[in-house]
């Protein structure tokens, strides 16, 4: 398995597009957080909660981009045909799928850790220098939300990987990864709210549940807790990967 992990790591880091997406994923929340800290740091109302909210909110975009990296890590193999030498080199396909999944989830989790660490350190220093009072102890939900960024990124990568395994097409997998959380869940959630009369049902949409991992504001809104929603999204993401693995193992390469 160590050999396979090395092989998949070489594959992941020798594609320029992955680096471009990774740089954007790290830079976007960092830039937005720093700009917000710079322009709002001297406002009387700007505080720890605001800074943490900006950072974790923009990190959702980074998580989505990590999902795209994960999806493309497998769809590009089908697109360029490299899946055939890959499965010829390792005939037990599940081993390849597991190794690739582990590598991409670890790599994107490291990106998320960088986003949180750099974003918080740079943002809090800049805000402090602009006159704001930043103290993590003031907001007990801030640290769980920042840990949530890392977990959400890992799960979003798993979900993207699952879509990639199932569809074997980069455009289709990426489209689903963007349309499902940003459009489809909103529509379905609203429709179900009307039909069931339950306003909190939207919180049980898989990606919306995942995004609850990064909420800094109190999430005592009747929806699932941070751990429950994260676990729920995790089960959905793992189910997608399991379905994809089954399909890839069964189909012709």
């Amino acid at each position: 398995m160590i050999n396979l992990l090395r092989s998949e790591w070489i594959k992941l880091r020798t594609v320029t597009m992955n680096w471009v997406l990774a740089i954007i994923a790290v830079a976007f929340p960092l830039v937005v957080t720093l700009l917000t800290a710079f322009f709002s740091g001297d406002d009387a109302g700007f505080n720890t909660r605001d800074l943490a909210s900006v950072l974790t909110g923009t990190a959702v975009v980074a998580a989505l981009l990590c999902g795209v990296i994960a999806a493309a890590s497998i769809t590009s193999e089908f697109g360029f045909g490299t899946i055939r030498p890959t499965f010829a080199a390792t005939p037990k396909r599940v081993k390849v799928i597991v190794a690739k999944g582990v590598v991409v989830v670890l790599a994107t989790s490291v990106l998320a850790i960088l986003v949180v660490l750099i974003g918080w350190l740079a943002g809090s220093n800049l805000s402090s220098s602009r006159g704001a009072t930043i103290d993590l102890a003031e907001v007990p939900t801030a640290v769980p939300a920042m840990i949530g960024v890392v977990v959400l990124t890992a799960l979003m990568s798993l979900a993207g990987y699952g879509f990639g395994l199932i569809t074997r097409s980069t455009p289709v997998a990426v489209s689903i990864l963007i349309v499902w959380p940003l459009i489809a869940e909103g529509l379905v959630g609203a429709l179900l709210s009307v039909v069931t009369g339950n306003d909190n049902i939207g919180a049980w949409m898989p990606f919306q549940a995942g995004i609850r991992l990064v909420l800094v504001e109190s999430i005592g809104d009747g929806g699932p807790s941070r751990i429950v929603s994260g676990g729920y999204f995790g089960v959905v993401a793992l189910t997608l990967v399991a379905l994809g693995s089954w399909a890839v193992n069964r189909r012709d390469a």
Partner: protein, 305 residues
Amino acid sequence: MISVGDLTKRFGPKVAVDHLDFEVRPGVVTGFLGPNGSGKSTTMRCMLGLDRPEAGETLFDGTPYHDLKRPLHEVGALLDAGYVHPGRSARNHLRWLAASNGIARSRIDEVLEMVGLTSVAGSRLRSYSLGMRQRLGLAGVLLGDPHTIILDEPANGLDPEGIRWIRDVLTHLARQGRTVLVSSHQLSEMALMAEDLVVIGQGRLIEQSTVASFVDRYADHWVRVQSPTAEALVGPLTAAGGEVTTVAANTLDIRGLDCVAVGEMAAQQQMVLHELSSQTGSLEDAFLKATAGAQEYTSTGLAAQ
């Protein structure tokens, strides 16, 4: 040794490989021939477990491919030189391949040197020609120093020097005792390179034999005579049951009689002969005759217009 037994693969209602059985012995190059769409590439993919066959199995020295611990050390396969990521360099392509089977990095430089790509090993593969990709594919095949080699159309895109090079490489590898199975449409190349043949049509085995016996069985055989008085021989040859064709001035081709019979008749006529030789059709002729009726796609005489 490769043993293919009862291999069957369907794509929907179409049977691409139909209960195929053949063996490939070590020490010689075995040509895998068949018309377009006859199932050669599908067979090779099934042999490696890339396509899931409905029935049958392939054994490599008695072991199914799926059970090989480090397959690149046992079987080197090149099914399509285009199976590369265009954004990677040749060296990085070989690095992930080598890493998957625990092959040392030093071996990458060795195989790059063998195939003549050392100077462009760092270039992205999108800049590679088809011929360069074929060489890279062969480097991947040689990476694990396998004793079984499977190549699908390895000479595609190669220039004459490249074609000769790959022929020399494959015959050299076979002489080392390796099992080499090669599909190709370049029958003249195959005639120079292969000792054994597996010929299929519409997914079914047509013939497995040596090249010599395949040509002997399917190709045309005739006797050629050149003589200043060749026309005088037409009557006696025809009377003896020969089918005589005048192919040029003073040159006859005779079918149905052998060299000995023709020579004796010429002696009886006290003729001066400039040539008396046995002629045999080419591998291409034999192939076309063997696969007649098993063609998936046939033209309607455009060449004759």
